[in-house]
Symmetry: none
Subunit: 235 residues, 2 copies
Amino acid sequence: MKTFAWKYISDQIYKEINEGRYLEGQKLPTENEYSLRFGVNRHTIRRALNELIRKSYIYSRKGSGFYVSEKKTIHFINQRPRFTKSLIASGDTPLTKIIRLEYIKPNEEEAKNLKIKKEEMVIFLEGIGYRNNTPICIYKKIFPSNRIPGLMASFKKNSSISKALFDSGIKDYIRSYSIISSKLTNHVEAFLLKCNQGEPLICTKNLNVNNKKEPIEFGYTLFMGSRVEIYIENN
Amino acid sequence: MKTFAWKYISDQIYKEINEGRYLEGQKLPTENEYSLRFGVNRHTIRRALNELIRKSYIYSRKGSGFYVSEKKTIHFINQRPRFTKSLIASGDTPLTKIIRLEYIKPNEEEAKNLKIKKEEMVIFLEGIGYRNNTPICIYKKIFPSNRIPGLMASFKKNSSISKALFDSGIKDYIRSYSIISSKLTNHVEAFLLKCNQGEPLICTKNLNVNNKKEPIEFGYTLFMGSRVEIYIENN
DNA sequence: CCAAATAACTAGACAACTAGACAAATTATA
DNA sequence: TATAATTTGTCTAGTTGTCTAGTTATTTGG
């Protein structure tokens, strides 16, 4: 049995990362530099680095370089889900950027979950969640606007989603259920998450209800597998 | 299929313009602002914006910014249509490029409109109309050559269509009727008009007659919806 | 053990993207 | 009005991503 160059190099670089030679988020040497150092072709270096990407120890940015991955964000799924708070608690700077906000017609599943008629227009909200300026998820949320008067205006005024809900009278809400699945990023998701096409995603689908148990939000979230892990709390 | 950042961004900005978020002539966000918003380098933004300039949805002013292009208003006159003159009058540089000129057999509608036999050969002329070096329309015209002696030779000599008609004895003509409809560009039209496939077109079909009320031209024109608006005068 | 097939590796070209510098034109400010 | 700041235009250079093609090394199967 023979150890191949790419495997040796991959292990070697990983060892150096593990030794703490490079901090989280720090840039690694370029392909070219590694190529000179190990005396192999650039493509062999790429293979070694791609192996580390596959294991999500590092990630790459086109035209820029390879970087050491940061620790995964833990996303808690429990009764009272709050993206921002869960991140603040873990000492990270959260941010969520809305990229789409409009009225649409719900599909069958959405209408059924929200307990409204298929013809009733709903608020569609799409955004990207960040941690330390790195995108970690794409979320899509459907709100029954008829049940929450003034919500659209509130979204346009507020940057925080839960604050917008609060302003519209939703003082509290709890999660009714969550479904978790997985898939690979398509080209659009890859762009939005600034990753390569074909990376694994953790997909959640969930329903939030108010204290009268009326559905107020049906949402989908795509978490980047390499940057997030989901923690399910039972209490 | 793979989406590049510049393509995604270009499409996104175009969508926002098309939604009416920015009015004609209005300034777009700066390269820097877009760069922060999309999280890419300024040069990638430039590439996206240059794509929109190429399709003349926007234009730029050095040291100032990027602006949404203004539509050209075409006065669709019932009486004396003249592409060249109407553009000169509005202070633009006119140009029309003939891309096809030959004898063909007319179809039923054309023969009927021109009041000739189906077997009688006619002159088929196809061209592209420009404003400021940007294509704004594709036109196809059918002329009953038997009724206008020497017209083909005249077309080959002259660059202006109305001048060619004038030289062939058509000193004056008026529009008999026009029909306006709409459709989306196919890939050939998109290529000729240097725009995306699926852009809306304003389609006109019309008949011109001489002072003896004999039909002398049956024509189709496809105006690019995003670059042109048609003004119809009733008097 | 040999031949064929497969995987590893080299080599090069080109595109997409990042990065920074500086010029030229415009706009805001003192 | 003069100056500073902003913004687009144009460079050069470097890095990753994706191809294609060809060579060498290893494994596989008879």
